[in-house]
């Protein structure tokens, strides 16, 4: 499926804002991405497998709350860095 990557992560994806990934869950998708772009996953997900506080991931337009969220091949995964503060 297509994964939209926000600017803060472009240093991992070779400046690409859109990449392809595989997986049946959000966790699998991020694991696949981390294999291609080492270090990316830990910037998004903490060591307890929680999505970090200022990261929102949409799967087919719906916010995914956990890594167990199902993903279909035709879904678009959109990662948003929801920065707050100054």
């Amino acid at each position: 499926m297509k994964v939209l990557v926000p600017g803060p992560l472009h240093s991992y994806t070779g400046r690409k804002s859109e990449v392809e990934a595989d997986g049946a869950t959000l966790g699998e998708v991020l694991a696949h991405l981390d294999g291609r772009f080492p270090g990316l996953r830990f910037r998004l997900v903490d060591e307890q497998d929680r999505i970090r506080p200022h990261i929102v991931v949409y799967v087919a337009g719906e916010p995914a709350r956990s890594l167990r969220h199902p993903v279909r091949a035709q879904d678009e995964v959109m990662i948003v860095a929801a920065l707050s503060g100054g």
Partner: protein, 398 residues
Amino acid sequence: MATRGKSTTRLKPKRRAAPSSPPKQLVLLLGTRKGAFFLHGDAGRKQWRIEGPHFLGCVIHHLVLDPRDGRTLLMASRTGHLGPTVFRSTDWGKTWKEATTPPAFAKAHEGQEGEAVDHVFWLTPGHASQPGVWYAGTSPQGLFRSDDGGVTWTGVKGFNEHAMRAKWIGGMGAGTPDGPKMHSILIDPRDPNHMYIGMSGGGSFESTDAGGDWKPMNKGVAADFLPEKDPEYGHDPHQMQLHPLRPDRLYQQNHCGIYRLDRPSDTWERIGRNMPKKVGDIGFAICLHPRDPDTVWVFPMDGTTVWPRTSPDGKPSVYRTTNGGKTWKRQDKGLPASQAWFTVKRQAFVLDQEDPVGLYFGTTSGEVWASRDEGASWRSIAAHLPHVYSVSVAERGR
């Protein structure tokens, strides 16, 4: 050159540059709320050239050169939205590589609430006899070690999984406004297994077995914010230092005053009581003269009422003692005389190894000030930077 009291004892440094040695270039490594900067000094420490930003927009809590190889830089970084990590450079910031395994707590057992590192706050190169060893302190309070120059990190189980850790570090609200912190990771130059750590909150602790076990060492230190009068732990050291040439002497700038400890005594003495009453003895940072264990500098801040954490009365000054804290002298020549409301964070007041010693501090208002005469006079060497979190001094061979 600054004058000194008769009680001053200068110790011979273990390593001093011989007159024929090639000149070293000093570089100040700045960690700020919006990126890292380098300040390159000339041979006379008069002119400083700024370089950067590196990692613009990222929060850089600490940026440190490995003094053992003179070329490895480690940088603790995070941004407002991405998780914490450590970057590494061996070419003075031309290129950076991220740690493949950044500091992270152990995964919790199913059904248990696990901890996550919010940010890496502190970096300490290991003992001179252990090249490649580094320690990192995190928020919340965790201790991590790298054996490969910062590429991979593992938790120090003797602390992170200590049965008493949860009590030592306290619960929610026991830390600083931007998160509780592990800091002041000190290695005894005589023994790599002998370590100290400081925690805000939690207090000061000692290990004699390379972090396998820890004991509180807070006797004599006030903790006015706790209900218990003389608690064993739960204190708030802001920064602790040991003297490199007399490692049994420690100083700390605490949330509740300035202290000195001379081992084997286990009781800290509040030397900040000798500070002027209208200034007080609250601050973040403390600096030790590299060759004189009696000479110490602090940068007081306003710790009254609601804790403004600004320069007292808007008049910033360094204070120096040359007799182990018996007396203190104000050193503010060149600093703003009034209406200056910055302060200096605990990692942002440092010194070099030259003679006379150069002092440097970065401010919450984005300035860097320098003194080439051991604090007798000051001048601004950089301005309009982001909030400065840390300054460290690096020597770069020519």
